[in-house]
């Protein structure tokens, strides 16, 4: 039960955080691109629950859920959304580029496929030092059409790099449906053709995600080489705040909403888990978000005189 509650709490944190972000976007306190993860929370919550602190994570531009589930403090994530100095990237990254060295969170990468080579290199360093670490590398099914996907899967399988490739198949590469982008439909089959273990998972079922991540990370840590999970999921909201959603119909969205991973887990743990307990959990999350917003609002912006800091390191060679 505790495990279930932890997963539920994580998914709720992400869901409610992003709902608040959407409101803050409407009131112009958050700007730039804002890609919401709503609907896909089971993937981040399930996979991250199987990682150790010394493992590493590479993320995408849809990274709020990954960062929060990895343990990046919500205050720092929210401050980043506000572009503040206290943000996890000092306001230089924004929504798409959350980073946290302490949590070995190597960033939201907004070039589709661009994080995969980096994940391979992080894993190579672990191998060369003999450390039994896993690198979890998140990307969408759109990345499976990029050259870097193919280059890196081949390289990782060839060198048996300890990478857990997490392909979040939310059915749309921005607005292009899967079937319009991929001639062959089975991503796990495609990945396994490179010589690594790969299988598909119901990404709307957090327990299934967790179980698959457990199996995969065990195999990777034991020296079994990389694995790929195709996590079949769906984003309930638009691609970004600018998206009029002309490419999908409402009935399809409604169908997927019936599979809401939060509702499904709540249903599963009833009747032991009561409405009161759910309410208490919601309140707890709400307090955390309120705190994150309040501290982000009052935090300082980095002075403009610091504009050119961090282009190069602040020590001489």
């Amino acid at each position: 039960m505790k495990e279930h509650l932890d997963l539920l709490r994580e998914m709720l944190r992400i869901r409610r955080f992003e709902e608040r972000c959407a409101e803050l976007y409407s009131s112009a306190q958050i700007r730039g691109f804002l890609h919401l993860y709503v609907g896909e929370e089971a993937v981040a919550a399930g996979v991250m629950s199987e990682l150790d602190p010394q493992d590493a994570v590479v993320s995408t531009y849809r990274d709020h859920g990954h960062a929060l589930a990895r343990g990046v403090p919500m205050d720092a994530v929210m401050a980043e959304m506000f572009g503040k100095e206290t943000g996890c990237s000092r306001g230089r990254g924004g929504s798409m580029h959350l980073f946290d060295a302490t949590h070995r969170f190597f960033g939201g990468n907004a070039i589709v496929g661009g994080g995969l080579p980096v994940a391979a290199g992080l894993a190579l360093a672990h191998v060369m030092r003999g450390e039994p670490r896993v690198v979890a590398c998140f990307f969408g099914e759109g990345a499976a059409a990029e050259g870097e996907f193919h280059e890196v899967l081949n390289l990782a399988a060839l060198w048996r790099l300890p990478v857990l490739f997490c392909c979040e198949n939310n059915q749309y590469a921005m607005g292009t449906a899967f079937a319009k982008e991929h001639a062959a439909g089975d991503l796990a089959l495609r990945a396994s053709s490179y010589g690594l273990a790969a299988w598909s998972v119901d990404g709307m079922d957090v327990l299934a995600v967790k179980e698959s991540a457990r199996r995969a990370t065990e195999s990777i840590r034991a020296g079994g080489g990389p694995c790929l999970l195709e996590l079949r999921t769906y984003r309930f909201r638009a691609h970004s705040m600018y998206d009029p959603e002309r490419y999908r119909d409402k009935a399809e969205v409604a169908q997927w909403r019936d599979l809401d991973p939060i509702d499904r887990l709540v249903e599963l743990i009833r009747p032991e888990f009561t409405d009161d307990e759910l309410g208490a959990l919601e309140s707890e999350v709400s307090v955390e978000i309120d705190h994150a917003v309040a501290t982000a609002e009052t935090a300082d912006f980095e002075p403009v005189t610091d504009l050119t800091r961090f282009v190069t390191s602040e020590v001489s060679p």
Partner: protein, 325 residues
């Protein structure tokens, strides 16, 4: 000792590998083949396949893997066969290597060294001969080096590896067989300053890499004609050591920029602009540029030669700024 540019590069790699366990070399054919230009010949036998890593033909994957390994505590040297192939990894070099430190608010430096061949002169035609280092010199977050001498071939790698940020080293393909004397104790060199390779008082020739020898040859010809040319080797293309060439131009009052890159939107344009911004009133003549013709570099020898800066064209330009057209 007698050595070559190629051997000096190899000794630099060997030295770095011996100094630091975190250093390793990876790239296409760096191991069993010995390197496309034989720079790493013999290193596989000395250091083994873990540290001399042959990669698949996947520039983006292995350059990105170098970035990841650098982020995670290693000190990779990534070799790309030629600058034209580096375009397949441009996403990783620009969007990750050069960007992660800033985008992460200073949390993630990328101590990576990328070596690659650049330049023309061996009849390798338009997909193996270009000089694109000026493009890379456009990018904040990168250090860009161009060793033109045996000392720099031997000495630039170690300080590049010590740099916490990504460093690109451009080795001109016409230089690999350059031979000469190198001090037995040759080692790391300064990678922040340009060097005056030939002092002179009448005109400043500003160049780097494969064009240095041509500029020096031009200076000899000019000397025979009574013109005393100073030759500056930029060495570091980013960040540019403008002080050294501006100081020279203020003394000679004339400048010719020699750059094997194309003229439009180029490194030579940047240098000319810096001179215009900082030293315009010290000039006695307009700045001249000798660059590659704006064509994809052709195969046929006579066409290739005609496309590149040559001692004669450099000397003609210098003569013109000294004596008038």
């Amino acid at each position: 000792m007698k050595t070559t540019y190629r051997e000096a590069l190899r000794e630099a790699i060997r030295d770095a590998m011996n100094r630091d366990d975190r250093v390793f070399l990876m790239g296409e054919d760096v191991g069993s083949y010995g390197g496309c230009y034989a720079v790493s010949l013999g290193l596989l036998e000395d250091f083994g396949p873990e540290r001399i890593r042959d990669t698949p033909l996947s520039e983006s994957a292995f350059v990105g893997a170098g970035i990841g390994a650098a982020l995670n505590g290693m000190r990779p040297i990534v070799e790309i066969m030629t600058v034209n192939f580096s375009l397949l990894a441009l996403d990783q070099i620009l969007n990750n290597a050069a960007t992660l430190l800033h985008m992460s608010g200073g949390q993630f430096p990328v101590p990576l060294v990328i070596r690659m061949t650049t330049g023309a002169g061996r009849q390798l035609a338009a997909q193996h001969s270009h000089s694109l280092e000026g493009w890379y010199a456009h990018i904040p977050g990168l250090r860009v080096l161009a060793p033109a001498t045996l000392e720099d071939a031997r000495g630039m790698l170690w300080p590049a590896l010590c740099d916490p940020d990504p460093v690109l080293i451009f080795e001109h393909n016409a230089l690999y067989n350059l031979s000469g004397e190198l001090a037995d104790d040759a080692g790391p060199v300064d990678i922040t300053r340009a060097a005056v390779r030939r002092p002179g008082k009448d005109v400043t020739l500003i160049t780097y890499g494969g064009s240095l020898a041509k500029a020096l040859a031009a200076a000899d010809d000019l000397a025979a004609d009574g013109i005393d040319a100073e030759v500056i080797d930029l060495r570091t293309l980013r960040p540019l050591d403008a002080d050294t060439f501006l100081e020279s131009v203020r003394r000679t009052h004339r400048a010719v920029v020699v750059d094997e890159g194309w003229r439009s939107g180029s490194l030579s344009a940047e240098i000319a602009a810096r001179i215009a911004e900082e030293a315009l009133y010290d000039l006695d003549a307009p700045v001249r540029r000798v660059c590659s013709a704006e064509v994809p570099i052709p195969y046929a020898q006579h066409l290739e030669e005609a496309a590149l800066p040559q001692p004669a064209s450099i000397a003609a330009a210098a003569s013109e700024v000294v004596r008038g057209g």
